[in-house]
């Protein structure tokens, strides 16, 4: 398999430069939103809430809020990253270069995942200002965050190729990802839901992601960590396969 590291790095660097150029939109804006969540749900309301599974409520919501931002931002970043060149016509350069799917993904998705990690670090730092928490399995948390960020960056990449308007670009993160994350146990434990809602909630794949991240933080989860990891890896694999097919067929990329 061919892989040109220089090409991948060129794409990666440009995408990172784009993020820093629009730092307010890509970093400060989600940090501000998440801070507001921590102020309202973590400090004000959280102080009056019972601990969940032995974890103080303010700390309990950190993994869910982190997931909420991570999914939205990595998906949007990656989708914009590929949609904008298609929209402005600058994609001609990528298509005419000796660059295949591997370099393209390493560049675009790698940058989106990096931005996700930077964002996660900043959010965790911000959370520290409002609530006390400890991370039980820091290495697992880092790997899991990277895995989720990469998966949803790949998903965003597919979205950016599929979308043929700005409206479509925003529809999935806004109408599907955000509601599913809210309903996926961000602010509560699925186990506390009455039947049959606890079972129905498990049909929401985001619930597995939130639960997996929560396990890495506090050692407690709604579903086994292996299931969460397996699901994330499966999602990542499906996204990679779809993107490889898109590049092979040239769907929405080459006329």
């Amino acid at each position: 398999m061919h892989f040109n590291l220089r090409s991948a790095l060129a794409i990666y660097r440009r995408e990172m430069a784009r993020a820093f150029r629009t730092a307010f939109q890509s970093i400060l804006s989600p940090v501000l939103t998440t801070s507001l969540y921590f102020v309202v749900f973590g400090s004000v309301i959280g102080a009056r809430m019972e601990p969940v599974g032995g974890v103080p409520y303010g700390a309990f919501i950190i993994p869910g809020l982190l997931m909420l931002t991570l999914l939205g931002e990595t998906t949007s970043n990656a989708s914009f990253g590929i949609y904008m060149p298609r929209f402005t016509g600058t994609i001609y350069e990528l298509l005419s270069a000796p660059v295949g799917v591997a370099e393209t993904l390493a560049g675009f998705v790698g940058a989106a995942a990096t931005k996700g990690l930077i964002l996660a670090t900043i959010i965790l730092g911000t959370a520290r200002l409002f609530v006390d928490y400890e991370i039980a399995h820091p290495l697992l948390a880092a790997v899991y965050i990277m895995l989720v960020a990469s998966s949803f960056a790949l998903f965003g990449f597919i979205l950016g190729i599929w979308a043929d308007s700005f409206e479509k670009l925003g529809i999935i993160p806004m109408l599907i990802l955000t509601p599913l994350t809210f309903l996926g146990g961000t602010f509560y434990s699925i186990r506390d839901l009455p039947a049959p809602w606890d079972a129905i909630a498990l049909a929401n794949p985001i619930a597995f992601l939130v639960s997996g991240l929560r396990y890495s933080f506090y050692g407690v989860s709604d579903v086994p960590i292996a299931v969460s990891l397996g699901l994330t890896l499966g999602f990542l694999t499906v996204c990679v396969v779809i993107i490889v097919v898109i590049f092979r067929t040239g769907w929405r990329l080459r006329e």
């Binding site: 220089r6 440009r14 001609y92 350069e93 005419s96 270069a97 660059v99 006329e255």
Partner: protein
């Protein structure tokens, strides 16, 4: 005879629910030449370039560049091909330096600030290296696109309407840049609406219409074969008929015997020489004339004439 640097055989492209943009195109490009592809809007020029550069998926046919089949060894070949697109498509918020550096990296070349500086200086962009592209004039933006296409030192360069929307002065400046690239051994394929451009720069000319290559020839040979000289001579006194002394010239008498029209030559000077001989013959025969107007056909006349003929055949 050199092997062609680019060889296209039976290239066909039919868009979904659309017309056949390319119809069995055969074309060979020689190393080191400037080849001008002329054709009206929608003739298939951009589709042809897109097919070679990987922007368009051909429906059929083969493309071989540098001896490599582009459907198989596209990586190696594409690393040696550059493209300047018709549209001013580039990240407008990037600086000139970063945009050009990115292009070099994207094509897998190691960073080379000296090379980038050389390219920017040669295109008079050095002073603008830290400027955002959106702040540049249209002509400068087009130079940035050329700089980006040159950043990986391509051996085969496609210029799709390189001077569209550029003022006359800048266009001539661009011609100099293209000539300099040829000097460096770069093979150039350009599409243009400005026949003057092809006439000025091209070694060979191809005419494409409705997705088919109608003619490919050396520019000089095309001018020689299809070019003519027309001379209109207004006589001092009317002639009843063409005198014997003018029998050897391709002449037509009109306007009540007061106008002689000569059509002949080969577009490469032969016609003008014959008109000079005609003027001497008129003087020797004592036929006075009040004015003499000479017009050599240009590549544009040939192009328009050819397309007119083909459209006539098709009708």
């Amino acid at each position: 005879m050199h092997e062609p640097i680019l060889s296209i055989r039976g290239l066909t492209k039919t868009y979904t629910n659309g017309p056949r943009a390319l119809d069995s195109v055969d074309l060979d490009i020689k190393p080191g030449e400037i080849f001008a592809l002329l054709g009206p809007n929608g003739a298939g020029k951009t589709t042809l370039i897109g097919a070679v550069c990987g922007l368009v998926r051909p429906t059929g046919g083969t493309i071989t560049a540098f001896g490599q089949d582009l459907s198989k060894d596209w990586r190696k070949a594409r690393a040696r091909i550059g493209l300047v697109p018709q549209e001013l498509a580039t990240d407008m918020f990037e600086t000139v330096w970063r945009a050009v550096t990115y292009s070099r990296g994207l094509f897998g070349k190691a960073s080379d600030p000296v090379m980038i500086e050389h390219i920017l200086r040669s295109l008079s962009l050095w002073d603008k290296r830290d400027a955002q592209i959106r702040a540049l004039s249209g002509g400068m933006k087009r130079r940035v696109l050329i700089a980006k296409a040159l950043a990986h030192e391509p051996e085969l360069l496609f210029l799709d309407e390189p001077t569209a929307g550029v003022d006359v002065e800048l266009r001539k400046d661009m011609w100099q840049q293209i000539a300099a690239l040829k000097e460096r051994g770069v093979t150039i394929i350009l599409t243009t609406h400005y026949i003057e451009e092809a006439e000025e720069m091209a070694d060979r000319v191809g005419i494409i219409q409705a997705g088919r290559i109608r003619m490919v020839d050396e520019k000089r040979a095309m001018m020689e074969r299809l070019g003519t000289t027309e001379a209109v001579i207004d006589l001092a006194a009317p002639l009843a008929a063409l005198p014997e002394a003018l029998a050897g010239f391709a002449l037509e008498l009109s306007q009540g015997g007061t106008r002689l029209t000569y059509r002949g030559g080969n577009g490469e000077g032969k016609g003008r020489a014959e008109v000079a001989q005609l003027a001497q013959a008129l003087t020797r025969a004592g036929i006075g004339f009040t004015s003499l107007d000479i017009h050599d056909s240009s590549l544009e006349d040939i192009f328009v004439g050819l397309l007119g003929e083909k459209q006539g055949e098709a009708a």
